[in-house]
Assembly symmetry: C2
Homo-oligomer: 351 residues x 2
């Protein structure tokens, strides 16, 4: 497996990605940087085919990369260029659209930006809420017998829900209940906020329980909401405009988000590239999915992925993905680290 063979494999991949047509020996031979005749290229290609990196749709057609071929190209051959500063700045702007980057908006922006940049579908699975802690619970009256429960987590997620009670609460009851909730829930991890815990809470409250049940229920629902993996999907339309992909398979794939979540949550480090049909549950033919992770406090708290045709400019897409996952890691870590290091906040307080 000499240098030239690798160069030829790379050329086949790149030409095929560019044109979508099987690539012949002549085209490769004429490419700058090859410098051997078509016959020589043919010999090498035949070898590459034997090794399983190339294949022919039919005898008299050019060569097309196999999945192994793509994999070899991605892992060993290609050298993605570093992003120039101007590009980084552009990406930062895309992330920062609509003001400061809070958790959800950041994820949303990252997803749409990735979809836009790559002209593929982009997906982010964010399970950071699961790792965060309830920082505030409020109950706010909002009309006759209607109360809004507000849940804020250390991760910056804010959820609310309206609950209808059987009776109105007196101010006294309300503040008592609020205090009680604050005491028992603030500081508790969202993941711990199970049915049992809430049942305990309810039991402890005793007599009031009958009245407060819908509120307790509401809190539970909000926490379930938080625990759920937030899956943000964008750019489906790009998949549908892609010639190489079967529309029906796309539909089927998008419908079964659980599968997708499973694939995204699988733990690994660095970048992983998966191919449709490549065994397992990622089933869009001729497609590929590139997944990267982001972290908070050293813990893996989410994945972001790009789904597109197998015929994808990996050298372009992978740097984007790497940059975004690093950026998200940086930004959410900032957020989380602020409170402990916050002393100047006291000095600056203004009366």
């Amino acid at each position: 497996m000499n240098e030239r063979k690798l160069k030829i494999l790379a050329a086949v991949v790149e030409e095929y990605v560019r044109t979508g047509e099987p690539v012949g020996s002549k085209v490769i031979a004429n490419l700058p940087g090859i410098g051997v005749s078509a016959a020589t290229v043919r010999n090498d290609m035949a070898m590459l085919e034997q090794l399983g990196f190339l294949e022919q749709p039919h005898t008299s057609a050019g060569r097309v990369p196999t999945i192994s071929g793509y994999r070899l190209y991605i892992e060993k051959i290609m050298t993605p260029p570093a992003l120039p500063d101007s590009e980084r700045e552009r990406l930062d702007n895309m992330l920062a659209e609509q003001g400061p980057m809070t958790g959800e908006l950041l994820i949303q922006n990252a997803t749409t930006a990735l979809a836009e940049l790559t002209q593929c579908a982009a997906v982010v699975s964010d399970f950071s809420p699961k790792f965060s802690v309830i920082s505030k619970v409020e109950v706010i009256p909002a009309g006759k017998r209607v109360y809004v429960v507000l849940l804020i987590t250390s991760g910056g997620a804010i959820k609310n829900k309206a609950c209808r009670l059987e009776f109105d609460l007196t101010n006294e009851q309300l503040s008592m209940f609020s205090d009680y909730l604050a005491e028992h829930l603030e500081g508790v991890s969202v993941a711990e906020l199970s049915d049992e815990r809430m049942a305990d809470l309810a039991a402890a409250m005793g007599a009031y329980m009958m009245t407060m049940a819908p509120l307790v229920q509401g809190i539970l629902e909000l926490s379930r909401d938080l625990q759920q993996h937030a899956l943000t999907f964008s750019g489906e339309k790009n998949l549908f405009s892609c010639e190489d992909l079967d529309k029906m398979e796309i539909v089927r794939f998008i419908e079964h988000k659980e599968e997708l979540v499973r694939l995204l949550d699988d733990s690994f480090s660095g970048i992983r590239v998966m191919f449709g049909e490549d065994g397992g549950s990622f089933v869009i033919g001729n497609s590929s999915m590139i997944v990267s992770k982001f972290h908070k406090g050293g813990k893996n708290v989410g994945s972001l992925g790009v789904i597109g045709p197998m015929r994808l400019d990996y050298a372009k897409v992978i740097p984007y993905l790497e940059y975004f996952s690093q950026k998200i890691t940086d930004l959410i870590s900032e957020e989380g680290e602020e409170p402990p290091a916050d002393t100047q906040g006291e000095e600056n307080r203004k009366g």
Copy 2:
């Protein structure tokens, strides 16, 4: 235009909807309830073609309804069966999934249910928030220099947003600001909450303004959110699995939601059926969109629509749409009407 011709037109529409193939005279003649020979049917079909209700893809093919043909069928000929009680119950259950029906969840459920039932795309444009009034504004501290603004409307919409201030507020400042907001914003229509009004508010606040600016900004953003038509879309995938429709056109259509909003907001009463290509901006070829309205307090506060192939079982879909729009009207009116009629709430108050 005799009875029999209408019957034949109906038969052509229904057969074509069923099979997707042009319908020949023989097929029609053999249908129960026709009772004339194929030759007679042919004569009538020729007549219907002259009148513009049918057309032939080519000379030796059967007939296919034209847009006028569909329209005549829908408006004058077909008689959708009333929904049986069992069906109504089923629909009610679909609407009520996941607990009681609050505004957003109700709309969400209605959209997915419609998409599911019709195997088409369903869309709801809800502009009721525009007509509602701010019933509560709260500012809640949520960490160092972070405050959550909570906006509740009479329509039951609840929105929140985290804002970061330059400094922390004292309790005094916070309650002063809250009171101020309550006094000046509660009872104000969401539609009136313009930039100018907020500027006035800011001006009136004078010195505090520098500190509070992000909060005021946050409120403004929330109200903009509310004023925006909430467009809920579901079942796109059904469109993509539909043979008759061009995938690219679907993508283009889904991308340009403003067009869709324009079509949905157009005011009319009852049910309206639009056809793709039928002049104007609804541009998916061979598609149709059926739109119905829902109301609150006599005002039209939203539309719900079904988008599918022109080859659609209108007699089945339209009753669903009518039922849902009526149901939504009923449910949101209930919500809104309760407060004034609320006297027993006082008696039942429990200390």
